[in-house]
Symmetry: C2
Subunit: 300 residues, 2 copies
């Protein structure tokens, strides 16, 4: 059998291409929006994102034996929501980051007003994409379920609530419970929604949907721990953003709360749990499995 | 027959009460969001809004002879989206307003970061509300149509695009075409979506839906012209916000582009057109008719 590494590389490349093409098509100016807002939206959506969430959605469809075509607009909507959250998180009033993936952040290029609006636009257009006529070949009930999952994950119970907690907890005493809560919401919720949306699109049964959610929950935590570790040990040239910024900002992170060794152990634990939740799936879940291992060893 | 004025007062009171109660129920902390974000969301949603969009939605349902109950969550979602847009528009990077409806704006009370997040939360929770299980007694197809209308109106083709145009056009040469374009998107699109959502919920036929859209389009323009006029002539004590701010900021407005007399004529024209588009409707469209007259004479 092909080695995991080669398999993953080919899989990510192929799925990423599907997503890139679909995003290009969807974000082509409709002819009726001011060109500046399209420029700002394009700038951030095509700034070199790894498309983790869309790929997870498609990999869940693969695992559940579903059809890829109806999942592609859903995958794109997830990326739009992720990109909106990055633009708003980078704003001066929030994390005040000048660089993201090696490029100046949206507000550095377009100014704060347009950056706020570009984020607002991406969040809203995700729901345009999920609801528009004729683009998603799914029964209305399934589409509504997908919208519900994604909206819930992006809202107060998920991403927005997590970002609020994150900001409110800066320079607070370290506490692993708060930290887990922040990440479960801030990054975890949308990752869970990505695999669950894949399960809904594929018509997966209750047990498989639950197993995929468990995978997503563990993967999301692993992803965040790896992110925190990289912020300390990572090579800023590879990552395209400053490292060490969490410490400078007094942010709660896994290494700062648990120490580096325990943080690495925790990362390993959640990767193992993610993979263990897929025992009921056959070889078609291989992408999900190798993605989990990849998170464990990520360099960027 | 009851005088228009009394009829309108009673109607607005009654419908507003329905909306307020539903908003209170929906925005009760779910027990799993950080309390600060709920505080910020509550502060702006219950800051004395007139609930024009929800009331227009319900009045369209009345006009089309539909059921109010399934329209109420839709009406609330419209108000959440409207409130989000006010919070973001008031931000220092945007219009930099310190007061709204006589109260300090969100960022003055909660800081910029939480104000941005409160806006993001309201926009997202609108879609949670529109998609959640068991709360809207509507077939999935109709719910999807409502989501589509509202998302489209709030997105790049509508509200966000209009706000971007508005900011980009500050201190530009006055041009009535640009001005109409800004307002058609910035306020008009969501007002049209409000009456169209009412039409969809009620299962109104094609002609009635078109007539209601025409009403919304004209009402939206009338509403904005009245707003611009009030910004020049209004009593800031009644309005709860500074007047004269548009001129100070070099903003394009109807009085600045057309002159005050022509602006008043245009207001009258759109109110008449709005009412004329309702000829196929019976007495049940009286609320929509008197609301149009009220816009013409608004003092706040």
């Amino acid at each position: 059998m092909e080695k995991d590494e080669e398999f993953l590389k080919a899989y990510l490349q192929d799925r990423k291409k599907l997503v890139e093409e679909a995003l290009q098509g969807f974000l082509a100016p409709h002819g009726n929006g001011p060109s500046e807002i399209y420029k700002a939206v394009h700038y951030s959506v095509f700034a070199g994102g790894k498309r983790i969430r869309p790929i997870l959605c498609l990999a869940a469809v693969d695992a559940a034996g579903g059809n890829l075509a109806p999942a592609i607009p859903v995958a794109c909507a997830l990326e739009l929501i992720h990109t909106y959250s990055l633009i708003h998180d980078d704003l001066p009033a929030m994390d005040n980051d000048d660089f993201r993936r090696g490029k100046p952040t949206s507000h550095k290029v377009f100014g704060e007003a347009l950056a706020i609006l570009a984020g607002d636009a991406l969040l809203t257009e995700a729901f345009v994409l999920l609801s528009r006529t004729g683009k998603i070949m799914l029964p209305a009930e399934k589409r509504l379920s997908v919208i519900r999952e994604i909206a819930y994950a992006a809202g107060i119970s998920g991403m927005v609530g997590g970002q609020a907690l994150d900001i409110l907890s800066e320079n607070m005493n370290s506490d692993e419970n708060i930290l887990s809560e922040i990440h479960r919401r801030k990054t975890g919720a949308l990752i869970v929604a990505s695999v669950k949306a894949g399960a809904i699109v594929s018509g997966a049964g209750k047990n498989k949907t639950l197993a995929l959610s468990r995978y997503g929950l563990n993967l999301g935590l692993a992803f965040q721990i790896a992110d925190d570790i990289l912020n300390v040990t990572g090579d800023s040239a590879i990552m395209g953003k400053k490292t060490g910024s969490d410490v400078a900002r007094g942010k709660l992170t896994y290494p700062s709360v648990l120490g580096m060794d325990a943080a690495r152990q925790k990362l390993q634990y959640h990767v193992d749990e993610a993979i263990a939740s897929l025992t009921a799936f056959d070889e078609r879940a291989r992408p999900l499995r190798v993605i989990a291992r990849y998170i464990e060893n990520r360099q960027e």
